[in-house]
Amino acid sequence: MATVSFEHVTKRYGEVTAVDDLTLDIVDGEFMVFVGPSGCGKTTSLRMIAGLEDITAGLLRIGDRVVNDVAPKDRDIAMVFQSYALYPHMTVRDNLAFGLKLRKVPKTEIDKRVADAAQILDLGKYLDRKPKELSGGQRQRVALGRAIVREPAVFLMDEPLSNLDAKLRVQTRAEILRLHQRLQTTMVYVTHDQTEAMTMGTRIAVMSDGKLQQVGPPQELYDTPVNKFVAGFIGSPAMNFIEVATVAAGDGVRLEGPGVTLPVPDRLRQAIGTAAGRSLVAGFRPEHFTIGGEIGATAKFAATADVVEYLGNEELIHATVAGRDIVALLSSEHRVKPGDAMDLQVPLEKVHLFDPESDLSLAFQAAS
């Protein structure tokens, strides 16, 4: 059980900065997910916790101890690798026991922990097999088991599900969550898959270009992304962005863009100001679109359906608004057909607005 904290941690490879001034506190017992596109520095951050990468600048603490110069084996962590990294010439039992033997844990204790882990992960039948005789999912469980038997203060997982097929991934995801609930140990989990991040994380740290963009519980990231990157990365299908500008209307302004008009949301009135001609970027999540009807103050779109993907209870509609592609997720009862003209609306409270220069959310700017 331990906290992990990054204090202005930077990692450079020559000229390339992989992780840039990362400051982040991971709470004891938390399931923290690092998410971001390839090359965003999430795996490097994880490997720095493991001690597999040197830290160029800053301090890294596990618990109260600064671990910058502590060897991986002395950090009281266990890591599950994307490729599992099982020892191919050892049986499952030996794989599980290897770390304990090296630490001179008494034989009876090793046997007990291996048996416990095997029971938790349903590996009892396979203890005497070699890794090559196991399926992908079983290998993954052995890799998890190898971490469990160590009873570490922090679990580190580097995209552990990416080599599994879709069905097994969902199962194993649940298994890891159950494991976390049971052990209540700090877990740091790296993934590029935002769905995995949303479903698993107590908190999620979104990274891009080596920088931490935002950290918070999944719902916070979804509801109030701090910038355009987080808004576009969290949520599936991704958020639509349309450039809009303020236009004088009555005694204030409203927002207009190609094919879209919307009144200024009250909560952002101050941040937007009253000057006409200010450009902004408006963000709309596909699932917040409705078609027809009046639902109070809304952003209104004149859209033409282009491609319709039928998903059962919902339809994913690829449409164009004044030549721009947008994606809307609508109930399939509307039976939209390609070529249909649609009046789409998004409730005003669901609209996100971003400053086009800083990419920051106006809501975030208004608050800070």
Partner: protein, 300 residues
């Protein structure tokens, strides 16, 4: 009716016919391979047949005539060679030289290969290039300087087994390190990282992971090295020289030929006696031999 013709009769002729076409298509390939093997083996077969013939027969007619006149063949040459008093000790000497001269370089190379592949130290790549670069140094250029070093004024190990072991170790190491480093370098990095987190020191990682996972490459290398040392004449001749007690099989066999070139029929028989052990080793470890050669390219 065979199973295949029955299948053809039932209208599923496609499969057998296609198989037949593939076989026919491969016929030229097989012919070429078989032809190459025959050409490759003819000198050895000739020597083998001649090893059963007298010197007169061998000089007066081609070895293939013996195939039609089996009466020419006898075991006299083998009997003569085996009756030489120094053959049995020479065989033992050969083993005495070959086994340590295989184990020492393979072991040293394994340590070096692990370090070159997985340990960070300054000048690692330069050092590796230097080691591999030593492959181009002809063995012959080293004979005189090393013999001087082994001489009575210096180490005084000329004529001893130790001198030959060290020489073979030095000659074998560049290739051995090269082969093993490339194999060990292809092992997955995560395994060593995982071991480091599990608490393994570099020595433990080497002994418990790298070494067992490199068995195919090590076995292949050991076979190469063993064959090289077993068949070696030059190195033993130079460093053991006239010390009759320590002479290996190759040196003793070459002594069967008189200075006037007589007695070469015994040489043929002796060559096959000397070949028996390497052949046995090869057939026993053949599996590793093939796997080791492709070991670096196909990660198993």
């Amino acid at each position: 009716m065979t199973a295949r013709s029955r299948m053809a009769g039932q209208g599923t002729a496609l499969l057998p016919r296609r198989l037949g076409r593939i076989r026919l298509g491969r016929l030229p390939l097989h012919l070429v391979v078989i032809g190459l093997i025959v050409i490759w083996l003819i000198p050895t077969i000739g020597l083998f047949v001649n090893s059963f013939r007298t010197a007169e027969a061998a000089t007066s007619s081609g070895w293939w005539t013996a195939i039609f006149q089996p009466a020419q063949l006898s075991l006299d040459n083998y009997a003569h060679v085996l009756s030489q008093s120094d053959i049995a000790p020479a065989f033992v000497n050969s083993l005495f030289i070959s086994i340590p001269a295989t184990i020492i370089p393979v072991l040293v190379a394994a340590f070096a290969a692990y370090a070159f592949a997985w340990m960070d130290f300054p000048g690692r790549n330069v050092l590796f290039v230097v080691v591999v670069g030593l492959l181009v140094v002809p063995l012959q250029t080293t004979l005189i300087p090393i013999l001087q070093l082994y001489g009575p004024k210096n180490l005084n190990i000329a004529g001893s087994f130790l001198g030959v072991w060290l020489a073979h170790t030095a000659y074998g190491l560049p290739f051995a390190i090269f082969l093993l480093r490339n194999f060990m370098g292809s092992l997955p990095r995560e395994i060593f990282e995982s071991a480091a987190i599990d608490g393994a020191s570099p020595v433990t990682s080497f002994l418990r992971l790298a070494l067992p996972m490199s068995v195919p490459a090590i076995a292949a290398l050991a076979i190469f090295q063993f064959l090289f040392v077993w068949n070696d004449l030059l190195v033993s001749l130079i460093y053991i020289g006239a010390n009759v007690q320590n002479q290996p099989l190759t040196v003793v066999i070459s002594n069967l030929v008189t200075s006037l070139g007589g007695g070469w029929e015994f040489l043929a028989a002796a060559a096959f006696i000397s070949m028996a052990l390497p052949l046995a080793v090869f057939f026993l470890l053949q599996r590793y031999f093939v796997r080791g050669i492709v070991g670096g390219s196909v990660k198993g």
